[in-house]
């Protein structure tokens, strides 16, 4: 049985918050990819990814973060990551994601970060 994964979307003004829940691997990564693509198709490039309920991530999931960030920043937006549990955060850090992405504790922190750094240089 595959392990479940879902993306819940909410708005904070012109910022879209995508809350991930479950297991993000090579099987479920296309769901996340589609969620980000849908935001960009709707002209929304200011994204917060809330990983509070994300139990697991493999490189296929990390690849989705990588694959869109250049386009998001070219469109004047950014993707900020928040709420990761220690196990998941460790994987991001092993690969050096903290050098490229803003990683915050909570959704309000991540939303506030947009007023300080609307788009970050890689």
């Amino acid at each position: 049985m595959p392990q479940p994964f879902s993306v819940q979307r909410t708005d904070e003004g012109d910022i879209s918050v995508l809350a991930l829940e479950g297991f993000l691997d090579a099987h479920t990564a296309p769901i996340f990819e589609q969620a980000i693509q849908s935001e960009l198709d709707n002209g929304r490039a200011r994204l917060v990814v809330d990983g509070q309920k994300l139990s697991y991530i493999s490189s296929a999931g990390l690849g989705v973060f990588m694959g869109f960030i250049e386009q998001i920043r070219q469109e004047g937006g950014d993707l900020k990551i928040c709420g990761l549990n220690q196990r998941v955060r460790q994987i991001f850090e092993i690969l050096g994601f903290q050098a490229i992405y803003d990683m915050l504790d909570t959704v309000p922190d991540a939303v506030r970060r947009f007023s300080e750094v609307p788009t970050r240089e890689a």
Binding site: M1, D25, S59, L62, G63, G67, E70, I91, L95
Partner: protein, 143 residues
């Protein structure tokens, strides 16, 4: 149990749908081998990466092919062998590009081998013409 080796085997159709089953298998064997919780998590992810590579790249998501995971442990270490039937790839030839370069190029792949190397003590790959390809991961058991 002394230093007697124990071997466990899982064979699944080549679909990413089965990655969860593979992770459960690795977690069970890891716990039985005496790995700590953090090391079990690392091994689960490393094997997930190896199997995802086999399923997507070696087998092209062909369900008629099988991925075999063989786990063997003794007092000192847990060794995992992932066997695929694909064309194989040379681990040494996987470029170690920086994350900044990968993101700038909009690449979604290229991290799997790096994850494996970061999480286990040894990674090796064996390609013998006419035989299945074997990717081997080794984790020392710290007691």
């Amino acid at each position: 149990m002394g230093s007697i080796e124990q071997t466990f085997l899982l064979q699944v159709p080549s679909s990413t749908e089965n990655l969860a089953m593979i992770r459960d298998f690795v977690a069970s064997v890891g716990e039985q081998a005496g790995l700590g919780e953090e090391d079990v998590s690392k091994l689960e992810l490393a094997v997930d990466e190896a199997c995802a590579n086999a399923i997507e790249h070696a087998h092209g998501n062909d369900l008629t092919k099988a991925v075999t995971v063989r786990a063997t442990f003794d007092q000192q270490s847990l060794r995992i062998e992932v066997v695929d039937a694909g064309g194989g790839f040379d681990l040494g030839a996987v470029p170690d590009e920086s994350l900044a370069r990968l993101t700038a190029a909009g690449r979604m792949g290229g991290l799997g081998v790096r994850v494996m190397r970061a999480l286990v003590d040894e990674v090796s790959y064996e390609i013998v013409p006419g035989e299945p390809n074997r990717l081997r991961l080794l984790k020392h058991i710290r007691r």
